[in-house]
Symmetry: C2
Subunit: 205 residues, 2 copies
């Protein structure tokens, strides 16, 4: 579905879900995961302001990811994306181990959390465009037995997601309510990105 294009399109993310989204939409692109220190940037933002929002953090991180790859690949159009999970004012980072994942899921159980996903387009030194979307997800009050069984079967794949779930897989069983765009939940607001790529002549209108 891509035009014979003058752009080299690059996805600056190693996320399988984001790659699958773009592949599903039949885009032609390369994958070059950005190497930025997300925790350092997030900590700096939080230390500099009392009222930093999840969307601010997701926006800065998606832009920084896109820029870190676009600077090294002049002429390319680079897609950066980030997702932040919050419960109230509390911000979550990815779990490093299955024991961390158990702690995260124990906190999320029976509560509504918010996912904010951001996508940025950059070329050279410039961010050309950015978009956000929010989703609200409510986990049910699953039993300890269910949680143990989930962690046992899901394995380390869930460490790729800040919420420790893949809703396209067994993670769906954690939820009682899912409100929001599916692509946003998977990690990137796809429809606004496609609209922007169309307006730039990268894909067919």
């Amino acid at each position: 579905m891509a035009m014979s294009d003058p752009f080299r399109l690059i996805l600056a993310s190693g996320s399988q879900a984001r790659k699958d989204m773009l592949t599903g939409a039949r885009l032609t692109f390369d994958v070059i995961p950005a190497k930025i220190d997300e925790d350092a940037i997030t900590s700096l933002m939080i230390s500099e302001s009392d009222c930093v929002e999840a969307a601010d953090i997701a926006g800065v991180l998606s832009a920084e990811k896109a820029l870190s790859v676009s600077r090294a690949n002049p002429g390319a159009l680079v897609i950066g994306s980030d997702q932040v999970l919050t419960v109230g004012r509390r911000l979550f980072s990815k779990a490093a181990t299955l024991e961390d994942a158990r702690e995260t899921l124990d906190i999320l159980r029976g509560r509504t959390h918010e996912l904010v996903s951001s996508v940025s387009l950059a070329t050279g030194e410039h961010v050309l465009w950015q978009s956000f979307d929010h989703a609200q997800l409510t986990m049910r009050s699953f039993s300890d037995e269910f949680l143990a069984c989930y962690l046992d079967r899901a394995g380390s794949r869930i460490l790729n997601s800040v919420g420790c779930y893949e809703i396209e897989g067994p993670g769906v069983q954690l939820f009682e309510r899912i409100e929001g765009d599916y692509f946003t939940i998977l990690g990137m607001p796809l429809l606004p990105l496609l609209t922007e790529l169309r307006s730039r002549g990268v894909i067919l209108t």
Copy 2:
């Protein structure tokens, strides 16, 4: 994630998307596609009432599908599901050929359509439970060139869906707005079904 269960769970649908949903959620089930004359049932319902709703049709068809398989498999718990697409009062059936698909997409282009998905549980002669959900999808005003390219590349897989698209694939490029639960859009309201299966002790709480 299934308990050591006394039930044989059967999905009365040949739809790959529905099968993938249940497999993703780690359910153990057999697939026995229902053989019912959907067009005859729909025509009868429309001829008998001036105000039949899309949800009525989806509900009757999901129940009939579940019953046709539960009658033949005593003791099994059978999942039937149906999806109906409407634009205003107009009801669409699946396209039989790519030329029919072109006509459907030509009508849906630039418009909002509604998908109603229904899921039923039956055992023996009885429907035990039913649920519905609605989603609204707006196609963008894509070019004829895009449509030709889409039909050419998507191939006959799109004939499996009443809207002639798979939003998990290239079909996402047809849309400017998608509002509603992803599983409902794929063809079956999964979260209410999982809740019901939990309350019946079929899967772990």
